[in-house]
């Protein structure tokens, strides 16, 4: 792992991320502003719908910021894994023509998504301020939660990108899985709604995205949030997600390493 971060690979990563960012909004009138406007507009729609039409956030303090944080984190997960999946195939021209660090291509795609996520978090911050969110002392652990999310996206990107080289219909399958996960994750509803159904509550809490989003909400918005460690207890609530993440990472990196040898031939 340490062998990877040579000055050459660092430069490559930076150039790939910068290029991606420059190209993303090129030719549009508002340019970079879009990267802030997009989550803002999506959030406005969601907020109106879930406050006035389908009030699933009733009883949740600071629901605006609560909802926005969940949406922004989920968006990063979707964007990160989708971009990650296409990263190797999308850079096929490079892989077929020069020797290039393949992990760098995947990492760059995750970092690109992370840059957008970072910008979106600024919007979240503004809403937190106006919404008088109750930042708890646990916020010192926020970097760890964000790191967990980043690691999860990266691990899935490694796995999906290698699989996508071989099977192009993974894109459709992943889209469906994401859709299912969106409803299986307490993003637009408060987890308290599920509390009467004990088994379902445990199942949802085991979902790593749910655990990450709920932890972040508890730290930043309100302690009213029902987190995984509250549902399962501290040992299981922290242990299971960490073990899952570790296993997923090991498997994904192994799979990627094994597949990457023949990327140039199969692309």
């Amino acid at each position: 792992m340490l062998k990877f971060f040579t000055p050459q690979n660092q430069t490559l990563l930076r150039q790939l991320v910068i290029t991606d960012f420059k190209l993303r909004y090129q030719g549009s009138v508002l340019g970079y502003v879009w990267s802030l406007l997009k989550p803002l507009m999506l959030f406005t729609v969601l907020y109106l719908v879930f406050t006035y039409v389908l009030p699933l956030g009733k009883g949740v303090p600071h629901f605006a910021a609560y909802l926005l944080l969940g949406v922004v984190m989920w968006n990063f997960f979707v964007e990160g894994t989708t971009m990650g999946m296409g990263s190797i195939v999308g850079r096929g021209d490079l892989i077929r023509k020069v020797q290039i660090s393949k992990p760098a291509i995947v990492i760059a795609s995750t970092l690109s998504a992370a840059v957008n996520f970072g910008l979106s978090l600024i919007i979240v911050g503004i809403f937190m301020f106006f919404n008088h969110a109750e930042v708890s002392a646990m916020v010192v652990f926020l970097p760890l939660v964000l790191l967990e999310l980043l690691a999860l996206v990266l691990a899935l990107s490694f796995f999906l990108s290698a699989l996508y080289v071989r099977f192009r219909d993974i894109a459709q399958i992943w889209e469906v899985i994401l859709q299912i996960m969106f409803y299986a994750t307490p993003i637009i509803y408060a987890l308290q709604y599920v509390q009467p159904h004990k088994n379902l509550l445990v199942l949802i809490s085991l979902n790593p995205i749910a655990q990450i989003i709920q932890d972040a909400r508890e730290m930043l918005i309100t302690t009213y949030t029902l987190t995984t460690h509250e549902v399962l207890g501290w040992v299981l609530g922290v242990g299971i997600p960490l073990v899952f993440l570790a296993l997923l990472s090991i498997f994904s990196i192994w799979f990627f390493k094994k597949s990457s040898k023949t990327f140039a031939e199969n692309l």
């Binding site: 930076r14 290029t19 219909d169």
Partner: protein, 385 residues
């Protein structure tokens, strides 16, 4: 050949096998459906190839299209991984396989230099240091802030070549990309390669299907044929071995090992030595010999790579008797199909049977013809309706 120079590239028993599924399935669905009738066809593209390249060498790899040459090139560049055996490269390697990889038309020239440099394995610091040199060599000072999509193809190639050449790595892997840009930029590139050839710290691997350029540049060369290494050693001998692969044995049947006191060279109409021609180009064959009173007649014959005798004539048939000259130019228009061609020449006395000197394994050249018409040569013709 024992050599005490450090080994730059070591290729040990490398075999490369490509697996091609009978039915290429790109989707999971298809793969699951075809689960039971899945089969692979394997192609052995390279078979147990071993060789070493030493520091300071200009090493040639000759092979026809489909010989495994390109696969070997990609293996050396680290793009492919060998199925068996190993390849060790000591030092950084710059591939000149395809230039301008990763160039993005929407970015400026300057931004592309940084992107392409990073892809070639340079660090930001190195690119910053070399930036001015790159721009200067490419002669694009005024265009660096323009988007690449506004560049001409010549400008693109110049920029790409400049970045790659400034990578200054210890090992250069050069495919036949030298034919880039206009004549002037080509000469500039050739000069750069001549400088590199003089630098004992640089190693160059030059891959080509043109034996002329290999002979001109390389100290040592190897020939790949049907995935196997058929010859490695002296560049001239390698060129000859390669020629034997391209032309049937019968063409060389009468070849004599005698020292021939005359020389054959091929140039284009401008007098520049080359072996690559396009259809309808003028091919000049320069024949130079030591003074000899017996010589009254010179003949030139052209053979195609399948051994077919294409055309031959001599100065007596053409009623252009040799005067006192010791050098003549035979200029022929290449109204020929795409192929390799071999030049044979002979000097005669007064009589055709009085053959004084002959060269059967003369230089070769290749012609690239448009694909519209078929056959060996283009005949003047018209349609009457």
């Amino acid at each position: 050949m024992p050599d005490d120079r450090p080994v730059r590239i070591s290729v040990d028993n490398v075999t490369k096998v490509f697996k091609v599924p009978h039915e290429r399935s790109n989707s999971l669905k298809q793969t699951l459906l075809n689960f039971r009738k899945q089969g692979f066809e394997t192609f052995k593209v390279l078979d147990d190839v071993s060789f070493k390249v030493y520091q300071g060498e200009f090493f040639g790899i000759l092979g026809r299209n489909g010989s495994g040459k390109s696969t070997l090139l990609k293996l050396l560049a680290g793009i492919y991984v060998p199925s068996e055996g190993s390849i060790t490269v000591n030092g950084n390697l710059t591939p000149f396989i395809e230039l301008g990889v990763g160039f993005n038309p929407e970015l400026s020239g300057r931004e592309n230099v940084f992107l392409n440099g990073a892809i070639l394995g340079l660090t930001t610091k190195e690119i910053e240091q070399k930036y001015d040199e790159i721009v200067e060599f490419a002669e694009l000072e005024r265009f660096m802030d323009q988007k690449l999509k506004n560049y001409s193809s010549g400008m693109l190639v110049r920029l790409a070549f400049s970045i790659a050449i400034q990578a200054h790595n210890a090992v250069l892997l050069v495919d036949e990309v030298l034919a880039v840009g206009d004549e002037r930029f080509q000469n500039k590139c050739l000069k750069v390669f001549a400088d590199i050839k003089k630098d004992p710290s640089k190693t160059v691997i030059f891959v080509s299907h043109d034996m002329g350029s290999v002979q001109r540049f390389c100290d040592r060369a190897m020939v790949v044929h049907d995935g196997e290494l058929t010859y490695i050693g002296d560049a001239d001998q390698a060129a000859f071995e390669y020629k034997k692969l391209n032309f049937p044995e019968s063409v060389f049947a009468r070849n004599t090992a005698q020292e021939v006191p005359f020389e054959l060279r091929i140039t284009n109409a401008a007098g520049r030595e080359t072996n690559l021609f396009k259809f309808n180009d003028k091919v000049q064959i320069h024949i130079t010999w030591k003074p000899d009173d017996r010589i009254k007649n010179a003949g030139v014959a052209l053979f195609k790579d399948d051994g077919q005798y294409i055309f031959g004539t001599n100065t007596i048939i053409d009623k252009k008797p040799i005067k006192q000259g010791e050098s003549i130019i035979y200029e022929v228009t290449a109204r020929l199909g795409t192929a390799h061609y071999l030049v044979q020449a002979a000097l005669f006395g007064q009589d055709d049977n009085d053959r004084i000197y002959s060269v059967y394994d003369g230089p070769t050249f290749s012609v690239a013809a448009p694909a519209e018409w078929q056959g060996v040569t283009y005949l003047d013709h018209e349609w009457r309706m």
